[in-house]
Symmetry: D2
Subunit: 482 residues, 4 copies
Amino acid sequence: MEKKKIWTGRINKQTNALAEEFIKSIKIDKELYVQDLIGNAAYAVGLESIGILSRDELKLILIGLKEIKKAIEENKVDFNQYEDIHSLVEFELEKNIGTPASKIHTGRSRNDQIVLDELLYIKSAIAKIVKLILDLEDLLIEKASKNLTLILPAYTHMQKAQPVLVSHYLLAYFEKFSRCLRMLFFNFQSSDFLPLGAGACVGSGYPINRQLLASILKFEKLGSNSMDIVSSRDCISDYLYTCTMIMQNLSRFAEDFIIFNSQEFSYINIDDSFCTGSSIMPQKKNPDILELIRGKSAAVLGHLMQIMALLKGLPLTYNSDLQEDKKILFNAHNETTNSISIFIELLKNTEFDKNKMLENCKGGFIEATDAADYLVKKGLAFRQAHSIVGSMVNYCIKKGIHFYDLDLNTLKKFSEFFDNDFFENIKIENCINSKLTDCSTSTQSVRNNIEKAKEEILSFKKEYNSLINKIPDFDEIIKTHL
Amino acid sequence: MEKKKIWTGRINKQTNALAEEFIKSIKIDKELYVQDLIGNAAYAVGLESIGILSRDELKLILIGLKEIKKAIEENKVDFNQYEDIHSLVEFELEKNIGTPASKIHTGRSRNDQIVLDELLYIKSAIAKIVKLILDLEDLLIEKASKNLTLILPAYTHMQKAQPVLVSHYLLAYFEKFSRCLRMLFFNFQSSDFLPLGAGACVGSGYPINRQLLASILKFEKLGSNSMDIVSSRDCISDYLYTCTMIMQNLSRFAEDFIIFNSQEFSYINIDDSFCTGSSIMPQKKNPDILELIRGKSAAVLGHLMQIMALLKGLPLTYNSDLQEDKKILFNAHNETTNSISIFIELLKNTEFDKNKMLENCKGGFIEATDAADYLVKKGLAFRQAHSIVGSMVNYCIKKGIHFYDLDLNTLKKFSEFFDNDFFENIKIENCINSKLTDCSTSTQSVRNNIEKAKEEILSFKKEYNSLINKIPDFDEIIKTHL
Amino acid sequence: MEKKKIWTGRINKQTNALAEEFIKSIKIDKELYVQDLIGNAAYAVGLESIGILSRDELKLILIGLKEIKKAIEENKVDFNQYEDIHSLVEFELEKNIGTPASKIHTGRSRNDQIVLDELLYIKSAIAKIVKLILDLEDLLIEKASKNLTLILPAYTHMQKAQPVLVSHYLLAYFEKFSRCLRMLFFNFQSSDFLPLGAGACVGSGYPINRQLLASILKFEKLGSNSMDIVSSRDCISDYLYTCTMIMQNLSRFAEDFIIFNSQEFSYINIDDSFCTGSSIMPQKKNPDILELIRGKSAAVLGHLMQIMALLKGLPLTYNSDLQEDKKILFNAHNETTNSISIFIELLKNTEFDKNKMLENCKGGFIEATDAADYLVKKGLAFRQAHSIVGSMVNYCIKKGIHFYDLDLNTLKKFSEFFDNDFFENIKIENCINSKLTDCSTSTQSVRNNIEKAKEEILSFKKEYNSLINKIPDFDEIIKTHL
Amino acid sequence: MEKKKIWTGRINKQTNALAEEFIKSIKIDKELYVQDLIGNAAYAVGLESIGILSRDELKLILIGLKEIKKAIEENKVDFNQYEDIHSLVEFELEKNIGTPASKIHTGRSRNDQIVLDELLYIKSAIAKIVKLILDLEDLLIEKASKNLTLILPAYTHMQKAQPVLVSHYLLAYFEKFSRCLRMLFFNFQSSDFLPLGAGACVGSGYPINRQLLASILKFEKLGSNSMDIVSSRDCISDYLYTCTMIMQNLSRFAEDFIIFNSQEFSYINIDDSFCTGSSIMPQKKNPDILELIRGKSAAVLGHLMQIMALLKGLPLTYNSDLQEDKKILFNAHNETTNSISIFIELLKNTEFDKNKMLENCKGGFIEATDAADYLVKKGLAFRQAHSIVGSMVNYCIKKGIHFYDLDLNTLKKFSEFFDNDFFENIKIENCINSKLTDCSTSTQSVRNNIEKAKEEILSFKKEYNSLINKIPDFDEIIKTHL
């Protein structure tokens, strides 16, 4: 069967079959069908408001669009016969309601239409991902509260550094994801403008009622320059950048947990229902999910590379290279949301092993910084204190002993400043609670920061609710305007 | 001569010479010397405020830091003997003032110190680049105003699409760069927090006066979580992303101009002082600068990939991989600022060739969309009008003529709706001015948008001024606290 | 229904449903079903040869595998109930033939099995892409021969440089793609080793007959180190690099053609059946295919980034991150093969416009290098000749004339060396044919290079045939061993 | 002072100072001075052979070039006054010897000249890096031989999988680096062609003696197509790809060692002279070098992206974007060679801790696969055996015991096939040596593979020697032709 196209006239021949298959984007952009239908509904209302469509034609169109949605959702539309989602809607509409369908493209181009669909998609995508991160942050706070005083060795260079609270560790990720949230809110704002009215690239010759369209489609602003509107994909690359950052953070969280899950560390127990076995080694309990997330972080990073390499050096205004943007966008969005979702479930089903962590604090001279601080408080300059404790560590390693095993006499040989209160000072709990800055791991500081996090998340949720109200709904538009 | 290090004590041997060369970052991070000195000055003030330093020691230190700055700027410091900029400052200070120098690292780690230096660098970098983009935007508005009614063919798919005003074209880039500005302001805000107090990773055991430090160093907020502070480089990748977007836009502007500068287009004349010749072909006048900018956009994109691939899957907290971040940051920043600077000069020295552009509007049936719109206004549905005009284009191409050459009779054969006013309607100027949306290329719309752009740039400049006030100055800190 | 897994036993719980969905790769790796079946058939033969399977069991298994293939190809297998293609084959086999199926994994792991499937895929993929490039090269030679003496301006910096033969231009791409071919042959060789016998990571405890397996599976070598075999994906990234290079070359070819197809250049006519129109601008004839190829080159580049970022810093041996490799591989392979296929068709349907190209040689002082060479041949040093001709160009531009319009007297003012033979020397055809190096554009040189290209392609085809013989065929294996 | 240029004449104005600074590449390409001098010397010989230079002029030039080399190496040349290395050589030569210098550019362009310099650089670079990898491989073989029977747990998913020999582990990297070597040899071959004779893009009008030049410059082949020669940078991206692969392998080696170096694993001891301490935590002994290598692997990957994004969609032939290639090439080469060099030293200074590794084999049921294999050998199908052993692992974990602690009665409850020889079978050494494939970790197999590796390295060294002979030497050229 001959595929239908909306641009015959100038082109004298039937498109070559291979070419047609290569050019068409319907397999990808069918994911935008709701957005395209919303856009068409709003645009029809707009056309009626300026007299291009009669009230009756508008009604026919709105009903027609509703039917198309239903047909698509019931799998009754043969996508494959169309070039793209715009053609599909226009031709399906024509099949349903005849002539009025051919007016719906008046004053509009696929160049601004696709931008509309993409902006609507991105706004929804951002809302969805914001919700997921809020869920993750709620869980982080809950886990931090529950494990407030559990102690873990903190690492630098994969070497035990100083003891830290598990709650403090979890809040570090709260901070990281909060930055992603702020970036997402910023991205939403940048994507919140009406592209319609730009036409193919120089604007429309019809008095398109842009304010009306923006209000139906719930856009805050009007795009200002037609050439910019049809040539840019900044909203996509901005969003992909944020996805990449989210995946970066998840990949680091995953890396920590993969290490913590090794038998050598054994800091966490992931529930069996979130692990897999081996087809050959019967004893294995593998953290596949975490590894897959780490792997997917590379995939999303590559998607960012794709969109940016694609745009580099492209002349104004629209070029078909841009058609490749959707696959990139959908893939990156899906990988990211799937990864957050599953990570939340895994985190819910993971417990920290208090004893193993505490036990592991014992080797490695993790109190050395506190030992140096002890000397400074007694009156030494920090650089000397640091050097003395370094020598003590060496001494102990050679003897196979630990700070606790030293007696006061021996200590005095390292520095006159040592006294009996030293041993109290370097107890693990005291190492934690002697930290004095409000960003530190002391129980008091973490308790405060949990409260602050709760306040912050409240304000994030408020902002999320306002996003939700800026996303148009197909049924609502139809209901209002029919 | 033996290189000095601030971490002897535990390590029993002299570092291997090759290893030392490999590890040391001084060749790169010397670029941070002002930031490191500022950080040290503020930190010393802070230490005095909590009694770690006496007032006299503070004075010695501040004077010592001032001398180090002078010595560096007079090329009197042998950078190569130090591992990094922090060691350099500490040891040079010790040379100058002796013991008090060894107290300056109290309660601080190189892990939070380097973050401080980098945040100070980024805040300055952003201010610098904002200023450059403001200059570019001023120039765009000026050029747009001066060339308000000049006409250029707009292109889609590198095919002439519809006529457009040069001013409208220039404002498209105004929009693109305005988005970059907003992103830069957002980046600045994200980078505006005090990292000190985080220590190596768990916070500091000293009652560091963070509010005081923030106020001296002009940070708006305090970093909240020590583990997050020392493990993150989000500010760097955020800033690099924005640099990449700026370069993307420049690369597209450059591409347009390279094409416009070809003999086949000849839309612009770049002043000879901004072109180069060929070593072999005497007739050449090459747009090297534009090509280099386009090339550098690939370089900056690669730098973004570097920082992001570097961070992927890194466990908390600090790992030395992060040491590689500075080379990436400095390179990307320098390429970007140099590219904007030179592009501004080139744009100043480039003129549009009114006649060539107008002449080129004549082939290519650039009025076809307006011809279709004409029929719609007369009562046809758009899809029919589109098809009719397509056939007319075909007809004319075969005859080697143009719309103007058709008489009314012939027109009527295509559609009854044609009338004598058709010819007036498809005059290039009318094609431009018949556009009705406020994002369109009509002279009126562009005039309005120039005014809006002027208002917007005013508010950008206000925001820029507030940035400037958030960047600390070494001399001022010294003067205030000495 | 409960999904079947091959690693129960150790894991105490049913996998969480979300986790299962996240982990399973069947949607992607089902593309490997032929490879997996081939691998199983060969492995079963191997197991029989060492007594693990009886002759009857082998027969059952081979028949069972054949039935699975049939069932898959008739869409009768519910992929979704399995975790991956290996589990699918094992469980479907069990359904068909019972117990013997549970022996087929003896001495094998999914870790070496997936590498086998991937190597078989890559070998086929390379053969397929080699064939396509050979077709493209055949076409290039044919087009070069047919258009041997057609003249085109060559460009540097998008500025007309010197005249060149279209045939020479086409052969430049022949060279580029020949490099890709050589790289593909090299990739094939690197992928031509048997991974079986590696087991999960340390080798197999069964006396797997590797020579026999290699001969059935047509591998030239045996993989040497089990830990390397299961941890590496070098063959994939090597192949993706070559795909990226192919796409790079196509993107440059596409860019040339997009420019040549602009009305301003008009050097080529792409048949209407390979162009598209605009939904709003009736006159447009857009080179979508070329733009899409250019866009896809960015996509494939991003895929290379994905696989390499994925592997960075991964500890030995197998990690599930590697599971993400297949999506990347299949996508990159498909985009690349589709792009070459369609480009071949487009090139077949594209004609060069002799007159337009020749006409365009006339402006731009394209003979300037030859003018300088003229003076050198008369005795001037090149640097002086270059400078003199530069001044002549300036003089002519100011006068609005050309070299042809100068009389001998005027010429003599520039240099005494000018004589009447100058005008003959700078005829376009003479500019072409006065080139003397064997890599140059002179008709003689190009004619020779066409002959050389023909010889080269013959030897490429021979190498291609030997590849084809190294790709195992399922039916053949079954037939031989049943 | 006015900077000198070799392309005045056509360009009417002095280049703008900022533009000049932006355009000039001397700061980067000065690294090519030897290559440029070699190229000039050979080219002069070539020009003499075709009568463009007299014998006396040639002598003057060769002596002049020798003096320039000396001056550069004695730091007596002010690089900054020149645009690029080609201009520097030409003008310095003119200063030294006057007029004959101005003949040296006859029939040559900077477009082919820079390709020559780059190919000479790459050939040297490859030889250098091949040598380093050979050193690394020698060391791997030496270490493997010395530690032949040391046992280490092999990991999959960061979970203990099966026991393996350290020697086998090291040989896995031997395989990985051997692939890099083969790729480097392939790259060398691809880079081994003479570009001279291509001129600016269409070939040269002089009878350049290409065979002679190739023989002096030690190129095996002649570049075939002038347009391809000046437009391609495939040799650079090929080489960068291989550098990225080398860094990938190093990053994985580094990752393994960072983990092995953690206190929790403690498998290796890196000599203190290759570790660093902390500025705040006195007990730290950080594997900085390994982390830096891992970080640099991201940097080199980004460089690969730079060159490839740069080339994407670039029209033929030469564009100045290509000028940016050198910075990318030099950076990637230097990071890679420095990383290999230091890694070799670190590896030399690292010892494996036999006891720690063996002790760690004891937990984690690392013998489970062998336990299953035991049952298969006794007659069970593998899938059942796998399941039974999985249950045994569960049972033991619950009881807090190990396989060794089970008595025969208990074993029999799991399977009738168990017998007393089971305990012998699952001894760690037997797990190792019961492996039967020639790619496995059995002592015999590894011993064989060490021998094979030695043979392979011999043949690599032979190939290396033949590379060395294909790299021209400046002094030798001068001596031969003076």
